[in-house]
């Protein structure tokens, strides 16, 4: 008993070196930022002015809806695509490595290179529109860059890559015998998926979905480079950056950031509430 307690204490010593940067680089700025949201530029008195301004001026509160209007449909589509691909290649399969590799590859590029790729591929004179016009499907090029759809595409490419990279492991963790057991007991493929396979991966899939969703709420470079940051893709971070770097209003910038953080927590809460309604234990029982 004593030994266990002793071991725990030593664990904390190991933890200390990682605690210092955590406190200095994350907790302190967060707290400082939080305090700043209750102050006005140049004064140290506490006020709710920034929040009142945020929630009464459409220039600010619109960012909530614009961000969610962009990110929520995108992440749902990402979920469907990533799920479909990884479900298809689960277990042993020839060509699995190549398909998984190509799907996950965008993660290694980073968002700016992907944005540049989207511009050259989807711009009115890019391959995509040229091909469609040449085969006679459309007369006018689709406008897919420098607007909502440009950012949407960028989110999809990265989001699919991120979710798929996580789903591959989740799906392979499910013992193929479970599906075969269900099938041998008389379940069709669809019933097997619905009653055995999906309930077992559901909680992990939703966790990855939530993580991806809150990451994408912080979208910036794609909103600026391939979107239209003045209106359609005026997301939280675009506004926060503008306040800080153009208007030098750090207090307002922090307020935007805090509202974004609260939005993320609320969404996380919703997804986790949904997650809790299903099975959340381990997918293996074999001893």
């Amino acid at each position: 008993m004593n030994r266990v307690v002793f071991a725990r204490k030593r664990d904390y010593l190991f933890f200390l070196p990682s605690l210092v940067p955590l406190l200095l680089l994350f907790v302190y700025p967060l707290l400082k930022g939080l305090v700043m949201t209750f102050q006005e530029t140049g004064s140290s008195g506490l006020t709710l002015h920034n929040y009142i301004e945020f929630f009464t001026n459409p220039r600010y509160y619109d960012t909530i809806f614009r961000t969610l209007y962009l990110v929520i449909p995108a992440t749902i589509i990402e979920l469907i695509i990533a799920f479909g691909i990884t479900y298809f290649i689960r277990g042993k399969m020839r060509g699995k490595g190549i398909i998984a590799g190509l799907t996950i590859f965008p993660l290694t590029l980073g968002s700016i290179i992907i944005d540049m790729g989207i511009i050259s591929f989807f711009k009115p004179t890019g391959w995509f529109n040229t091909v469609l016009i040449n085969i006679g499907l459309i007369d006018e090029p689709f406008k897919l860059v420098y607007n909502y759809w440009g950012t949407f595409l960028a989110l999809i490419i990265l989001g699919v890559a991120f979710m798929a990279s996580n789903f591959v492991g989740i799906m392979d963790y499910i013992d193929p015998n479970l599906e075969q057991a269900a099938r041998s007991l008389g379940a069709s493929r669809w019933i097997t998926f619905k009653r055995v396979y999906f309930p077992l991966i559901r909680s992990n899939v939703l966790t990855v979905f939530a993580l991806n969703l809150i990451m994408q709420i912080g979208v910036y470079s794609s909103a600026v480079i391939v979107g239209n940051p003045a209106s359609e893709t005026r997301t939280f971070v675009v506004v926060a950056f503008e306040e800080a770097m153009r208007n030098f209003n750090y207090n307002m910038a922090n307020t935007v950031a805090i509202v974004m953080g609260i939005t993320q927590i609320v969404i996380l809460g919703i997804v986790f509430a949904i997650r809790k309604r299903g099975y959340i234990g381990s997918a293996s029982t074999f001893k």
Binding site: D175, N177, L178, Q180, A181, A182, R183, S184, L185, G186, A187, S188, I191, R195, V196, P199, L200, Y279, G281, S282, A283, S284, T285, F286, K287
Partner: protein, 369 residues
């Protein structure tokens, strides 16, 4: 009384299984080659062989996970090759049980009944019935992770039999239990098979398990069926070197039957022209290339004077006390060794010169292939 009732429920459901020239190839490797097998209704057939011999491949083809490259599987004469696995009505117990972790014991067992849209009261009745049969009373609402290995094994069994399957398949179901539990479950399985009278195909690499449970055994090696027979037949008259070796024979001598005298064969080893006399059997004749084999406990060590055939001079080189007997390695001058088991504790010393007697009646002649 209850047992009679149970039996009534399940009989009439049992099925005769036939495999005709079944072959399965994975790329260029052949996992199962031309396997033909008939399993009578109510039989307990064991597929016995080392890992990689193709026994699980056969099971997977019957279950419908794998499609045969060629050949046919038939239940009561009806080919089932093209029937989807969900419609084959097979009860399967997987090696790792494959229980659904997100369901309770009751839900796991009832799964197959749900798929058959069995009405609620009937479902409850039937689940309770099998739960009693496998002695899981009181655990209905537990989740699988809260069960011991032996209990999980019984849930798997219950889930497979509750659907009243046409046949029952078991893939090394006891291999993950400890020795004591394994013996216990063996007895239970035997009892259950007797009660249910259901055609059962059992896969194992454990010859003791096979001998104890089966009404018939099929020994396999490298995708090929080596011998099919009742347990005593396999044990007493293994057909070839592989079966004899796998079932526990020892002291193999490779050679040729060179002569026949007074109802006995004269055998000569290939390597060192050692001549031995063995009793004639009906399956072999002079000129056959064969193996002789004699079990270590059938060899005799003679210390006094004795003359006659099959006496070999040797020296005891190792001794190994194994409880009920002592195992010796006896080496002849030319280096050939024999394993001998003698009852009791260490009657001979290492280094002692002895004579070995190979009783012509106790030597078995087996084919090479």
């Amino acid at each position: 009384m209850i047992q009679v009732e149970r039996k009534k429920i399940f009989t009439g459901n049992s099925t005769r299984v036939e495999l005709k020239n079944l072959t399965k190839k994975f790329g260029s490797t052949t996992a199962v080659e031309n396997a033909s097998l008939e399993i009578d209704s109510g039989e307990f057939m064991t597929l016995l062989g080392p890992s990689g011999c193709g026994k699980t491949t056969i099971l997977s083809m019957i279950l419908g996970i794998l499609e045969p490259t060629s050949g046919e599987i038939a239940f009561n004469g009806q080919p089932i090759n093209h029937i989807d696995m969900s419609k084959r009505d097979i009860g399967m117990v997987f090696q790792n049980y494959a229980l659904f972790p997100h369901m309770t014991v009751f839900q796991n067992i009832a799964f197959g009944l749900d798929m058959r849209k069995v009405e609620k009261e009937e479902k409850k009745k039937r689940v309770r019935e099998v739960i009693k049969m496998v002695q899981l009373d009181g655990l209905e609402d537990r989740f699988i992770k809260d069960l011991s290995g032996g209990q999980q094994q019984r849930v798997a069994l219950a889930r497979a039999i509750v659907i009243r399957p046409r046949i029952l398949l078991l893939d090394e179901p006891l291999s993950n239990l400890d020795a004591k539990l394994r013996k216990e479950m063996r007895t239970q399985l035997k009892k259950l098979h007797r009660e249910l009278d259901i055609t059962t195909i059992y896969v194992t690499h454990d010859q003791e398990e096979a001998l104890s449970l089966s009404t018939k055994i099929t020994v396999m090696s490298k995708g090929v069926i080596q011998q099919i027979g009742a347990p005593e037949e396999i044990f007493r008259r293994p057909r070839n070197y592989f079966v004899a070796n796998f079932i526990g024979y020892g002291n193999f001598l490779k050679g040729k039957l060179v002569d026949e005298k007074n109802g006995q064969f004269i055998f000569e080893t290939t390597k060192d022209s050692l001549r031995l006399t063995v009793n004639r059997d009906n399956k072999h004749q002079v000129g056959d290339q064969v193996f002789l084999t004699i079990k270590p406990e059938m060899l005799e060590i003679v210390t006094g004077e004795k003359t006659g055939v099959n006496l070999l001079d040797g020296e005891i080189v190792t001794s190994d006390y194994i409880g009920s007997a002592t195992g010796y390695e006896v080496q002849m001058e030319n280096g050939r060794t024999f394993q001998v088991n003698v009852p009791g504790l260490n009657p001979y010393a290492v280094g002692q010169k002895v004579k070995l007697y190979l009783d012509p009646a106790k030597i078995l002649i087996v084919d090479e292939e």
